[in-house]
């Protein structure tokens, strides 16, 4: 289980997260929605340890990992796999080298076992046989799927998805949604999905939390969020320009 309490993060004078409290249960898919620039990606980067919080606690299975630094923090990072918004594939490496990257650092596998795992992960995301291609030879959707294969290759317990459907067409976006559901079913992982795509959110979420002005203003099942009396939530999920959210 992951518990965030009082999480704060600023960049210079700009306060991005202003006391985030959120609990994510083991094995569930939590979708965090919010406007662009509301701090959703920052939240993921705090969780995985790329950024350090200014204040607050990040409890993972009962241990506060926020104060950890260096190798101790990196050991916690092993529990996470992350799909980045633009996939963030290493452009000097082949697809196979990309997928094997985390595996070689986190895993204790022989080269043959690594190659087999790479093949297996690529097959899982529907991209069997593209091991030798370079990232620039892939479409946007394929890059995301390779990014996902890379994130699951070392079998993390928690997978973070940063805008998985952004920048790809609706059919490919739905294919990614199906993959998120498949991975949760097959691997039993805890997933945190950051998105502002309400179709994706409704499809993959066990629960949805809305981040607004640095705080979680609503959290519940997709049905509860749909019926939320909060005007901010209603404006966001229905995509209206008129409403309490004016900073667009």
């Amino acid at each position: 289980m992951i518990r965030l309490s009082g999480l704060r993060k600023s960049f210079g004078p700009k306060l991005v997260l202003d006391g985030v409290d959120l609990e994510i249960r083991g094995g569930e898919t939590m979708v965090v929605i919010g406007q662009s620039g509301s701090g959703k990606s920052v939240l993921l980067k705090l969780l995985i340890g790329i950024l350090a919080p200014d204040a607050g606690a990040i409890e993972i299975d009962g241990t506060d990992v926020a104060p950890l630094r260096g190798d101790a923090r990196q050991a916690v990072t092993r529990k996470f796999g992350m799909l980045f918004q633009g996939a963030a594939l290493f452009d000097s490496m082949t697809v196979a080298q990309n997928v094997a990257f985390g595996l070689e650092r986190y895993g204790r596998l022989t080269p043959a076992e690594t190659a087999a795992r790479v093949k297996d992960c690529l097959a899982k995301v529907g991209l069997a046989g593209i091991e030798g291609l370079m990232p620039h030879e892939l479409s946007g959707g394929m890059k995301k799927r390779v990014g996902l294969a890379r994130a699951i290759a070392y079998r993390p317990e928690i997978i973070l998805y940063d805008e998985p459907s952004t920048g790809i067409d609706p059919i490919r976006a739905d294919a990614i949604n199906e993959l998120i559901l498949l991975l949760q079913r097959e691997m039993g992982v805890t997933s945190i999905v950051i998105t502002h795509d309400m179709v994706s959110a409704a499809k993959v979420a066990d629960r949805i939390a809305m981040l607004y002005e640095g705080r979680i203003v609503a959290c519940g099942t997709p049905g509860e969020i749909e019926r939320s009396p909060n005007a901010v939530v209603q404006q966001f999920i229905h995509g209206r320009a008129e409403g309490p959210i004016r900073n667009w």
């Binding site: 980067k45 995985i48 340890g49 790329i50 990196q74 990072t77 092993r78 996470f80 796999g81 992350m82 980045f84 918004q85 633009g86 963030a88 594939l89 290493f90 452009d91 990257f101 985390g102 650092r105 986190y106 890379r150 994130a151």
Partner: protein, 258 residues
């Protein structure tokens, strides 16, 4: 200028100096920690060393020729005809202690430092640096340590090679073209050029290597704002590294023995 505006001018300089020192310190610590990114280190040895060799050869050859030419003119005009053969030690001394380390440093700053900043900067803005961290690779150990170690080792090698080329071309100009007595030229060169003259140039080159790599990686890692940001990082790397090389060279010339 008021005290306030002076502080506003000086503060960013010290902040940046602090950032470089922090990155340099972290890199130095990580050099002695495992795991070592051997593959990246070997790639960087090739990139900084072998691939820079043609540029260094050309620079050193023309550096040697022009220095040989000016020394010849100097002796011929101010000391007298026949004295040009005594220019050999001066040419070798000037080349090995000053000219070649600086030329090599500036060439590598332009060719390799800018490429480091562009490569790491692009990785930064496309989240590849974050991806490294998430996949268990410390960005400092993966990106900065191999580049810095390779530059530290390769700059002296390039400089030594450049020394040789420069001295040969200085001799070619004097002996081959201007007809200076070759026996006296070579004998004087070997007599007066000391081991420490060459070694001090190589020491400088190693320091320049660290400066180039740390500045390039520092600029790359703090890149923001897309392609424009990458462009800014590469330009800044060349400017900051080149100026630092010239300043550090003066102080090393002043304080290194010999």
């Amino acid at each position: 200028m008021s005290r306030l505006s002076l502080a506003a001018l000086v503060r960013p300089f010290f902040i940046q100096l602090g950032e470089i020192a922090e990155l340099g310190g972290l890199t130095l610590r990580n050099v002695f920690r495992k795991p070592w990114e051997r593959k990246i280190f070997l790639q960087q040895l090739d990139e900084i060393g072998a691939r820079t060799l043609p540029v260094v050869s050309l620079t050193a050859a023309f550096g040697g020729l022009v220095f040989g030419f000016q020394t010849y003119v100097g002796f011929h005009r101010y000391v007298g005809q026949g004295s040009e053969a005594y220019g050999g030690p001066i040419i070798s001394l000037g080349l090995t202690k000053e000219l070649i380390p600086i030329l090599v440093g500036l060439m590598v700053a332009g060719r390799v430092g800018s490429s480091m900043a562009a490569q790491i900067g692009t990785m930064r803005i496309t989240e590849q640096v974050d991806a490294l961290f998430s996949l268990g690779a410390d960005p400092n150990r993966y990106l900065v340590v191999p580049r810095t170690a390779a530059a530290f080792l390769m700059l002296p090698c390039l400089t030594l090679f450049g020394d040789l080329i420069g001295i040969i071309f200085g001799a070619i100009y004097n002996v081959g073209i201007m007809g200076v007595n070759g026996t006296v030229y070579v004998r004087n060169t070997l007599l007066y050029l000391q081991f420490w003259d060459v070694a001090s140039g190589l020491t400088k080159a190693a320091v320049f290597g660290v400066i180039i790599a740390v500045v390039g990686c520092w600029q790359g890692l703090k890149t923001e704002g897309g392609a424009e940001g990458v462009g800014r990082a590469t330009t800044r790397t060349v400017v900051i590294a080149s100026i630092s090389i010239l300043i550090v060279n003066f102080f090393m010339s002043k304080f290194l023995p010999g």
